[in-house]
Subunit: 193 residues, 2 copies
């Protein structure tokens, strides 16, 4: 790979970690394994991250940052339907874009537990709930919202559907979100035959 | 509890196992624990079940039997919409009726793995797919179906929604299923204000 600048170290470490997580699983990968794979000492890893949990969170940080940006963009709309539409599109695109790169982490119980304990999770959830259901959320909105958020994983875990072209899968995921959250299609959106 | 007939042994064992699974987790519960709790020898347990896996499957067997009956009932309808409606109602009622009794097993990774390997799982999945999407399933039907099947767990894992009255939760779960699978409400069904 030739010479790297010092600032690349953190990124290179995260790339290496993600590769090892995919190969051996998160549970089985140690800081020492990551150091060995990079050809550095464990101190070289410690310089950037103190624990494996910090590394896992570093790996998925770009997903969190993008979720944050999606929520901020959606919150800027005044109309409820526009807010929800922006959120649904952003979330579906985020999931589709992440599924290849982070497939090793999806469904991993170690990662799931870590994300469940993420301090920002409650904030994101509050923002999503406020965005979709408003300050006084009622079950008629919350039930379909939770079915959508939880259910998105279903088609992506099905081998046949996961093999679909991204654009096709995207359109059906969006359509499901619109049906559940009762959004009308935007003008110009493709309609099924 | 007084005297029991000999034929009660199997049922009593399954009840005891379910209680211990709920108290200590499935992983941590051994055949010996179940024998001890019942005040019988391990041979007394072996008489009914050879492995813990058999016991776990015995515990959830009534759920499988009911799913089978739901599918058979749904398959008897000629119209596609009636088949799907019957399936959605049957599934929602099954999930709602099972959630208290089997809460200890839901989300348990040991149980999830065991059910994933259940030999009937492929048959059920084929029947559900045929019922909802027909002999030539297309993504436009399969994506919302999988979102519904996977997503049902979402509201039930949410503490606020799970605490709702069964009848209220039922109506919203049914409504989500109808929206996703594009069923019209049956005449006489409650309409939202």
């Amino acid at each position: 790979m030739g010479q790297r600048k010092r600032g690349d170290g953190r990124e290179q470490l995260l790339e290496t970690a993600l590769r090892l997580f995919g190969r051996d699983g998160v549970e089985a990968t140690s800081l020492q394994d990551i150091a060995d794979e990079m050809g550095v000492t464990k101190a070289g890893v410690y310089y950037h991250f103190k624990t494996k949990d910090e590394i896992v969170l570093g790996v998925v940080e770009p997903v969190f940052a993008r979720l944050d940006a999606i929520l901020t963009r959606a919150e800027a709309h005044r109309a409820r339907s526009a807010r929800i539409e922006e959120f649904v599109i952003g979330l579906v695109d985020l999931v589709l874009d992440s599924r290849i790169r982070f497939s090793a982490l999806m469904g991993d119980p170690y990662v799931a537990k870590l994300i469940e304990q993420h301090p920002n999770l409650i904030t994101w959830w509050h923002r999503i709930r406020m965005l979709v259901a408003g300050p006084d959320p009622d079950p008629a909105t919350m039930v379909p919202l939770l079915i959508f958020l939880t259910g998105l994983g279903g088609p992506l875990n099905d081998p046949q559907l996961a093999a679909l072209d991204n654009a096709v899968l995207r359109e059906h995921l969006l359509e499901s979100g619109r049906r559940l959250l009762q959004l009308r299609k935007r003008a110009g959106a493709a309609t099924p035959p």
